[in-house]
Amino acid sequence: MISFLRMRLAGALATIFGASLISFILLRVLPGDPVRLIAGPLASEQALEGVRRQLGIDLPLPVQYARYIGGFVTGDWGFSFTAGGPVREVFASRIAATAELALFAFVIAFTAALILALLATYRRNRIIDGFVRVISTFGLGTPQFWLAMILLIVFFEQLNLFPGPSGRLDASTLAPPRVTGLLTVDSLLAGRWDAFSQAIEHLILPALSLGFVPFAFLVRLLRANLLEMSREPFIVVVRSKGIGYWATHTRHVLPNAFLPTLTASGLILAELLTGSVLVEKVFAWPGIGALVVDSILRQDYAVVQSFILLTAVLYVGVSFLVDMLYGVIDPRTRNPVSQRG
């Protein structure tokens, strides 16, 4: 177990190191000069020099890199000149919005995929299975921003069932006191039912647009694995004990078919947490995605570098968590210490 952990840790550090190095180099070889962008086209050479010193990009590259990593570890993530504040504070004020949206989208995608895959494969239900196959094929080919706009046109403009692209709450509604930053949780904590239902209403369309592709992917994967497992010989043995179809399906087929879905879910969650850029734009969602896009365009080194490093840490963390869950679900992946021949 210890050696396994050590291996994992080394792998995680290597991943993070690689990601940081690539982002560091890419930003610096991209054409364009952030200093010019900040100081303006008419600034004097002296002023440019001042900005350079301020940003720390007058220093030799290895020193810059060391400061970047050292700063990240100690919590000094640099200064964002586009947002006009320390990167950490800028992120902190926006990360909750992104996280809430991503989690909501993930829960929808995961739950829907689980239920539909189970129903589609349960005694080969042709109707549900046909539906699942069509919708998942459709889902895999759907661009998120396009779906976002279609959903807005149908459910906001035409039917007026859900609020439009107006952020996380109606403009007239007072946000509940900030505890976790997740509006649904905070409004519940404050007992503010109006804010809670509004937060949910605002979440549904962006979460659907964001979660549809992951849903399509997960449902396909899980369906295929469920079908494969339901043909395994041990399923006949379970059935020969008198266990019913549904209990066999959920207690024996599903746990055995679940591992690939678990792995994919981890990556999807990480992707949702970092990749909701366009959907955030469409729904005017005050999250990290929009900030990052702007920062890339303006070569705001500090923001982009921190974001990529944060993403890498997140991916590594999620995949580590998934590996731990593997052990819980599949005893064969646990360390063979308990093996007694």
């Binding site: 005694r123 080969r124 043909r231 395994e232 010989p233 041990f234 006949v236 043995v237 379970v238 059935r239 020969s240 004990k241 008198g242 266990i243 019913g244 207690r251 024996h252 746990p255 055995n256 679900i329 599949d330 005893p331 064969r332 308990s338 093996q339 007694r340 021949g341």
Partner: protein, 322 residues
């Protein structure tokens, strides 16, 4: 295509019936049909399975589920794939117990599972019960499979090639375990196998299956001494026997079983039969079921062969007496 056709036999309380035949003869399909566990798109298109006074084919699925595991249990052929890999063996035994007796507490069911594991001679049962299948050897896994089948003391066990996947020493041990457990409980057994040696040791009666039909039914003694159906005879001759080594290589049955999708009009064995190949009646007419001695055979030559063997049987019986 039909894997099992017109098969009819009965098993009495406590009787041990062997069903033998080569691969693809329909043995496993028969076992799964009795339990109504043929996987779709396969299905049982007709027939009856009477358990005491109920026709299992006409039960509702819910009633059938109650029969499985508590009145008829299955011992599956390959222990390597017969157990759920992500569940402890204890949980798999307990699941069967509690399915049929929901009033039994978890603790009691667990104690009973340990007892069952002891019955099938799993050493250190109280520790092994929390193991996962991958932590056990093939022989141990097959004992667990047997323990699961015995969990509710079913009056009928269907053992589908219970020892085929095991090495010879383990085979003997597992068979011993099975035999003792069955004897203690007075359960009837349908033993499906291609191994005639096991049948001779274990069974009270033998059915020989070919191309989805029972071509001969007899006591093991009769079958071994004087097989009536040419297929039975050929099967017997292809058992490896050290005493016959000098007589050259092991005889095999030429050809392969017929495609079940395209059965001949006459006897299904005719194209491979040393006796009937090319004979008009064998080629064109399906043989009737002919009662012979204590059994039956489906062969046009059955009576002839039975008469031919009469003297041989008498001599053998005389040997037995002396």
């Amino acid at each position: 295509m039909r894997a099992v056709r017109g098969v009819s036999f009965e098993v009495r309380r406590g009787e041990k019936v062997g069903i033998v035949g080569e691969s693809g003869s329909g043995k496993s399909a028969l076992a799964l049909s009795i339990l109504r566990l043929i996987a779709p798109p396969g299905e049982v298109v007709g027939g009856q399975v009477w358990l005491n006074d109920r026709d299992l084919m006409r039960l509702r699925e819910r009633e059938m589920a109650h029969v499985r595991g508590s009145e008829i249990a299955l011992i599956f052929q390959d222990p390597m794939t017969a157990l759920d890999p992500v569940m402890t063996i204890g949980a798999q035994i307990v699941e069967s117990i509690r399915k049929h007796r929901p009033d039994v507490s978890r603790k009691e069911a667990r104690d009973r599972a340990i007892e069952l594991l002891r019955d099938v001679e799993v050493p250190l049962a109280e520790r092994r019960i929390d193991d996962y299948p991958h932590q056990l050897s093939g022989g141990m896994r097959q004992r667990v499979v047997i323990a699961i089948a015995l969990a509710n003391d079913p009056p009928l066990l269907i053992a589908d090639e219970p020892t085929t996947a095991l090495d010879v020493t383990t085979q003997a041990q597992v068979l011993d375990v099975l035999e003792r457990a069955v004897e203690e409980r007075g359960a009837a057994v349908i033993l499906i196998t291609h191994n005639l040696g096991i049948v001779a040791d274990f069974c009270d009666s033998v059915k020989v299956m070919y191309a989805g039909r029972l071509v001969e039914q007899a006591t093991p003694t009769d079958l071994f001494r004087s097989p009536i159906h040419p297929y039975s005879e050929a099967l017997l001759r292809s058992i490896p026997d050290p005493a016959r080594l000098e007589q050259g290589p092991l005889p095999t049955i030429p050809g392969a079983p017929p495609s079940l999708a395209n059965l001949p009009a006459g006897c299904a064995f005719e194209p491979r039969c040393p006796l009937g190949r090319g004979v008009a009646i064998c080629k064109n007419t399906a043989p009737p079921v002919i009662p012979i001695g204590q059994g039956v055979a489906e062969c046009h030559f059955a009576e002839e062969r039975w008469a031919d063997n009469e003297t041989m049987r008498k001599e053998a019986a005389a040997d037995d007496r002396s």
